[in-house]
Point group: C2
Chain length 147, copies 2
Protein backbone atom coordinates (compact mmCIF):
# COMPACT_ATOMS: atom_id res chain seq x y z
CA UNK A 1 0.00 0.00 0.00
CA UNK A 2 1.21 3.48 -0.84
CA UNK A 3 0.25 6.28 1.51
CA UNK A 4 -0.15 9.69 -0.06
CA UNK A 5 -0.94 12.93 1.75
CA UNK A 6 -1.44 16.53 0.69
CA UNK A 7 -0.02 17.07 -2.81
CA UNK A 8 1.59 20.47 -2.10
CA UNK A 9 5.07 19.61 -3.44
CA UNK A 10 5.19 19.49 -7.26
CA UNK A 11 7.35 16.35 -7.15
CA UNK A 12 4.72 14.26 -5.34
CA UNK A 13 2.39 13.12 -8.13
CA UNK A 14 5.16 12.41 -10.67
CA UNK A 15 7.10 10.47 -8.00
CA UNK A 16 3.99 8.55 -7.04
CA UNK A 17 3.32 7.49 -10.66
CA UNK A 18 6.95 6.47 -10.94
CA UNK A 19 6.66 4.29 -7.83
CA UNK A 20 3.40 2.68 -8.98
CA UNK A 21 5.03 1.73 -12.26
CA UNK A 22 8.10 0.34 -10.50
CA UNK A 23 5.98 -1.80 -8.18
CA UNK A 24 3.67 -3.04 -10.95
CA UNK A 25 6.66 -3.97 -13.12
CA UNK A 26 7.94 -6.08 -10.22
CA UNK A 27 4.59 -7.86 -10.07
CA UNK A 28 3.26 -6.36 -6.85
CA UNK A 29 -0.41 -5.62 -6.29
CA UNK A 30 -0.65 -1.93 -5.46
CA UNK A 31 -3.23 -0.28 -3.25
CA UNK A 32 -3.25 3.44 -2.49
CA UNK A 33 -4.64 5.46 0.41
CA UNK A 34 -4.70 9.03 -0.78
CA UNK A 35 -5.78 12.51 0.11
CA UNK A 36 -8.74 13.39 -2.21
CA UNK A 37 -6.83 16.26 -3.86
CA UNK A 38 -3.94 13.92 -4.59
CA UNK A 39 -6.34 11.37 -6.07
CA UNK A 40 -7.82 13.94 -8.48
CA UNK A 41 -4.33 14.94 -9.59
CA UNK A 42 -3.43 11.29 -10.21
CA UNK A 43 -6.56 10.78 -12.32
CA UNK A 44 -5.80 13.94 -14.31
CA UNK A 45 -2.17 13.00 -14.90
CA UNK A 46 -3.00 9.43 -15.91
CA UNK A 47 -6.23 10.08 -17.82
CA UNK A 48 -5.92 6.85 -19.83
CA UNK A 49 -5.16 4.85 -16.66
CA UNK A 50 -2.00 3.35 -18.14
CA UNK A 51 -0.36 3.43 -14.72
CA UNK A 52 -3.29 3.20 -12.31
CA UNK A 53 -5.12 0.41 -14.10
CA UNK A 54 -5.47 -2.43 -11.58
CA UNK A 55 -4.49 -0.21 -8.66
CA UNK A 56 -6.96 0.04 -5.77
CA UNK A 57 -7.71 3.43 -4.24
CA UNK A 58 -9.25 4.57 -1.00
CA UNK A 59 -9.54 7.83 0.89
CA UNK A 60 -6.73 8.23 3.42
CA UNK A 61 -9.28 8.77 6.23
CA UNK A 62 -11.38 5.74 5.26
CA UNK A 63 -8.32 3.54 5.22
CA UNK A 64 -7.86 4.10 8.94
CA UNK A 65 -11.39 2.83 9.67
CA UNK A 66 -11.65 0.04 7.11
CA UNK A 67 -8.54 -2.06 7.29
CA UNK A 68 -7.67 -4.08 4.21
CA UNK A 69 -5.04 -6.79 3.87
CA UNK A 70 -1.61 -5.44 2.92
CA UNK A 71 1.95 -6.72 3.31
CA UNK A 72 3.85 -3.45 3.31
CA UNK A 73 3.19 0.25 3.48
CA UNK A 74 5.28 2.86 1.67
CA UNK A 75 4.51 6.42 2.74
CA UNK A 76 5.46 9.77 1.23
CA UNK A 77 6.04 12.25 4.08
CA UNK A 78 6.64 15.98 3.69
CA UNK A 79 4.73 17.53 6.59
CA UNK A 80 3.33 16.90 10.09
CA UNK A 81 0.16 15.35 8.71
CA UNK A 82 2.28 12.87 6.75
CA UNK A 83 4.11 11.82 9.91
CA UNK A 84 0.83 11.47 11.76
CA UNK A 85 -0.84 9.37 9.03
CA UNK A 86 2.19 7.15 8.66
CA UNK A 87 2.34 6.37 12.37
CA UNK A 88 -1.44 5.84 12.54
CA UNK A 89 -1.40 3.46 9.56
CA UNK A 90 1.51 1.53 11.04
CA UNK A 91 -0.50 1.05 14.24
CA UNK A 92 -3.80 0.17 12.52
CA UNK A 93 -2.31 -2.18 9.93
CA UNK A 94 0.45 -3.50 12.17
CA UNK A 95 2.66 -4.25 9.20
CA UNK A 96 6.09 -3.24 7.92
CA UNK A 97 6.05 0.45 7.10
CA UNK A 98 8.63 2.38 5.10
CA UNK A 99 8.58 6.15 4.76
CA UNK A 100 10.24 8.53 2.37
CA UNK A 101 10.70 11.92 4.02
CA UNK A 102 11.22 14.64 1.42
CA UNK A 103 10.99 18.41 0.98
CA UNK A 104 13.01 21.54 0.26
CA UNK A 105 14.92 20.64 3.39
CA UNK A 106 14.78 17.40 5.32
CA UNK A 107 13.12 17.64 8.69
CA UNK A 108 15.24 15.51 11.03
CA UNK A 109 12.48 15.64 13.62
CA UNK A 110 10.16 13.72 11.28
CA UNK A 111 12.79 11.02 10.75
CA UNK A 112 13.31 10.71 14.50
CA UNK A 113 9.59 10.43 15.24
CA UNK A 114 9.04 7.84 12.52
CA UNK A 115 12.03 5.73 13.47
CA UNK A 116 10.98 5.73 17.12
CA UNK A 117 7.80 3.99 15.94
CA UNK A 118 9.81 1.34 14.11
CA UNK A 119 9.27 2.86 10.66
CA UNK A 120 12.21 2.48 8.30
CA UNK A 121 12.89 5.94 6.91
CA UNK A 122 14.57 7.13 3.74
CA UNK A 123 15.02 10.80 2.94
CA UNK A 124 15.46 12.96 -0.14
CA UNK A 125 15.91 16.71 -0.47
CA UNK A 126 13.57 17.41 -3.37
CA UNK A 127 10.81 19.83 -4.20
CA UNK A 128 11.00 20.58 -7.95
CA UNK A 129 13.64 18.11 -9.03
CA UNK A 130 12.44 14.50 -8.75
CA UNK A 131 15.84 12.83 -9.23
CA UNK A 132 16.74 12.44 -5.51
CA UNK A 133 13.32 10.87 -4.90
CA UNK A 134 13.59 8.56 -7.90
CA UNK A 135 16.96 7.29 -6.64
CA UNK A 136 15.48 6.53 -3.19
CA UNK A 137 12.34 4.90 -4.62
CA UNK A 138 14.49 2.50 -6.65
CA UNK A 139 16.41 1.67 -3.46
CA UNK A 140 13.19 1.15 -1.47
CA UNK A 141 11.70 -1.15 -4.09
CA UNK A 142 14.96 -3.12 -4.43
CA UNK A 143 15.05 -3.61 -0.67
CA UNK A 144 11.48 -4.73 -0.14
CA UNK A 145 10.69 -8.38 -0.19
CA UNK A 146 6.99 -9.04 -0.35
CA UNK A 147 5.33 -12.41 -0.37
CA UNK B 1 3.31 23.58 -29.20
CA UNK B 2 2.75 23.61 -25.46
CA UNK B 3 4.68 26.13 -23.40
CA UNK B 4 5.50 25.09 -19.87
CA UNK B 5 7.28 27.19 -17.25
CA UNK B 6 8.31 26.64 -13.65
CA UNK B 7 6.47 23.64 -12.17
CA UNK B 8 5.75 25.22 -8.77
CA UNK B 9 1.97 24.53 -8.71
CA UNK B 10 1.16 20.86 -8.02
CA UNK B 11 -1.54 20.89 -10.72
CA UNK B 12 0.84 21.75 -13.53
CA UNK B 13 2.36 18.38 -14.47
CA UNK B 14 -0.91 16.40 -14.17
CA UNK B 15 -2.72 19.07 -16.24
CA UNK B 16 0.04 19.04 -18.81
CA UNK B 17 -0.16 15.23 -19.23
CA UNK B 18 -3.93 15.55 -19.53
CA UNK B 19 -3.56 18.13 -22.31
CA UNK B 20 -0.97 16.09 -24.20
CA UNK B 21 -3.31 13.11 -24.17
CA UNK B 22 -6.25 15.22 -25.33
CA UNK B 23 -4.24 16.67 -28.23
CA UNK B 24 -2.76 13.31 -29.27
CA UNK B 25 -6.23 11.71 -29.21
CA UNK B 26 -7.38 14.43 -31.61
CA UNK B 27 -4.51 13.56 -33.93
CA UNK B 28 -2.35 16.64 -33.35
CA UNK B 29 1.43 16.52 -33.39
CA UNK B 30 2.59 17.87 -30.06
CA UNK B 31 5.80 19.73 -29.37
CA UNK B 32 6.74 21.06 -25.93
CA UNK B 33 9.01 23.90 -24.82
CA UNK B 34 9.61 23.33 -21.13
CA UNK B 35 11.54 24.51 -18.16
CA UNK B 36 14.17 21.79 -17.37
CA UNK B 37 12.64 21.05 -13.93
CA UNK B 38 9.23 20.58 -15.53
CA UNK B 39 10.75 18.24 -18.11
CA UNK B 40 12.30 16.05 -15.41
CA UNK B 41 8.95 15.85 -13.61
CA UNK B 42 7.20 14.85 -16.84
CA UNK B 43 9.73 12.08 -17.47
CA UNK B 44 9.33 10.83 -13.89
CA UNK B 45 5.52 10.87 -14.05
CA UNK B 46 5.40 9.13 -17.42
CA UNK B 47 8.32 6.74 -16.97
CA UNK B 48 6.98 4.33 -19.62
CA UNK B 49 6.40 7.24 -22.04
CA UNK B 50 2.77 6.24 -22.65
CA UNK B 51 1.83 9.89 -22.98
CA UNK B 52 5.02 11.57 -24.19
CA UNK B 53 5.87 9.01 -26.85
CA UNK B 54 6.03 10.88 -30.15
CA UNK B 55 6.09 14.25 -28.42
CA UNK B 56 9.02 16.56 -29.19
CA UNK B 57 10.71 18.45 -26.37
CA UNK B 58 13.01 21.42 -26.21
CA UNK B 59 14.30 23.70 -23.48
CA UNK B 60 12.13 26.79 -23.12
CA UNK B 61 15.17 29.06 -23.59
CA UNK B 62 16.39 27.19 -26.68
CA UNK B 63 12.96 27.45 -28.27
CA UNK B 64 13.31 31.23 -28.39
CA UNK B 65 16.56 30.97 -30.34
CA UNK B 66 15.79 28.01 -32.60
CA UNK B 67 12.39 28.49 -34.12
CA UNK B 68 10.59 25.38 -35.29
CA UNK B 69 7.44 25.16 -37.39
CA UNK B 70 4.25 25.18 -35.30
CA UNK B 71 0.62 26.11 -36.00
CA UNK B 72 -0.51 27.02 -32.52
CA UNK B 73 0.94 27.66 -29.09
CA UNK B 74 -0.85 26.79 -25.85
CA UNK B 75 0.83 28.23 -22.77
CA UNK B 76 0.35 27.54 -19.05
CA UNK B 77 0.83 30.80 -17.14
CA UNK B 78 0.97 31.17 -13.37
CA UNK B 79 3.64 33.81 -12.80
CA UNK B 80 5.45 36.79 -14.34
CA UNK B 81 7.93 34.52 -16.10
CA UNK B 82 5.01 32.67 -17.71
CA UNK B 83 3.58 35.93 -19.06
CA UNK B 84 6.99 36.98 -20.33
CA UNK B 85 7.69 33.65 -22.09
CA UNK B 86 4.24 33.56 -23.65
CA UNK B 87 4.58 37.05 -25.12
CA UNK B 88 8.13 36.33 -26.32
CA UNK B 89 7.07 33.08 -28.01
CA UNK B 90 4.13 34.81 -29.68
CA UNK B 91 6.53 37.39 -31.12
CA UNK B 92 9.22 34.91 -32.19
CA UNK B 93 6.81 32.32 -33.68
CA UNK B 94 4.30 34.87 -34.94
CA UNK B 95 1.49 32.32 -34.67
CA UNK B 96 -1.83 31.99 -32.83
CA UNK B 97 -1.15 31.79 -29.11
CA UNK B 98 -3.57 30.72 -26.41
CA UNK B 99 -2.78 30.99 -22.71
CA UNK B 100 -4.30 29.42 -19.64
CA UNK B 101 -3.74 31.67 -16.63
CA UNK B 102 -4.11 29.72 -13.39
CA UNK B 103 -3.18 29.84 -9.72
CA UNK B 104 -4.60 30.08 -6.20
CA UNK B 105 -6.08 33.37 -7.36
CA UNK B 106 -6.28 34.67 -10.90
CA UNK B 107 -4.05 37.60 -11.63
CA UNK B 108 -6.14 39.97 -13.79
CA UNK B 109 -3.01 41.90 -14.65
CA UNK B 110 -1.58 38.83 -16.44
CA UNK B 111 -4.77 38.45 -18.49
CA UNK B 112 -4.69 42.12 -19.45
CA UNK B 113 -1.03 42.01 -20.50
CA UNK B 114 -1.53 38.83 -22.55
CA UNK B 115 -4.69 40.04 -24.27
CA UNK B 116 -3.02 43.33 -25.16
CA UNK B 117 -0.55 41.26 -27.17
CA UNK B 118 -3.36 39.48 -29.00
CA UNK B 119 -3.11 36.30 -26.95
CA UNK B 120 -6.44 34.57 -26.33
CA UNK B 121 -6.60 33.93 -22.60
CA UNK B 122 -8.50 31.42 -20.53
CA UNK B 123 -8.32 31.35 -16.74
CA UNK B 124 -8.83 28.82 -13.95
CA UNK B 125 -8.53 29.19 -10.21
CA UNK B 126 -6.64 26.03 -9.34
CA UNK B 127 -3.63 25.05 -7.33
CA UNK B 128 -4.30 21.61 -5.82
CA UNK B 129 -7.57 20.73 -7.52
CA UNK B 130 -7.12 20.14 -11.26
CA UNK B 131 -10.83 20.13 -12.18
CA UNK B 132 -11.12 23.85 -13.14
CA UNK B 133 -8.06 23.46 -15.38
CA UNK B 134 -9.33 20.23 -16.95
CA UNK B 135 -12.62 21.98 -17.86
CA UNK B 136 -10.75 24.84 -19.52
CA UNK B 137 -8.33 22.53 -21.35
CA UNK B 138 -11.26 20.65 -22.90
CA UNK B 139 -12.71 24.00 -24.00
CA UNK B 140 -9.38 25.15 -25.46
CA UNK B 141 -8.89 21.93 -27.41
CA UNK B 142 -12.48 21.97 -28.70
CA UNK B 143 -12.01 25.54 -29.91
CA UNK B 144 -8.72 25.10 -31.73
CA UNK B 145 -8.73 24.27 -35.36
CA UNK B 146 -5.31 23.26 -36.62
CA UNK B 147 -4.40 22.31 -40.15
Amino acid sequence: MILLGCPEPPVLIPSFLYLVNLLKNKGYNVFVSANPAALKLIETADSEKYYINGVGFQNIEEGIKNKIDVDKIISFVHNDAGVHYTITYKMVYNTETISLVFGRTINEEYIKELEEEGIKTYSARAFHNPTPIVVKLKKIVNNINCK
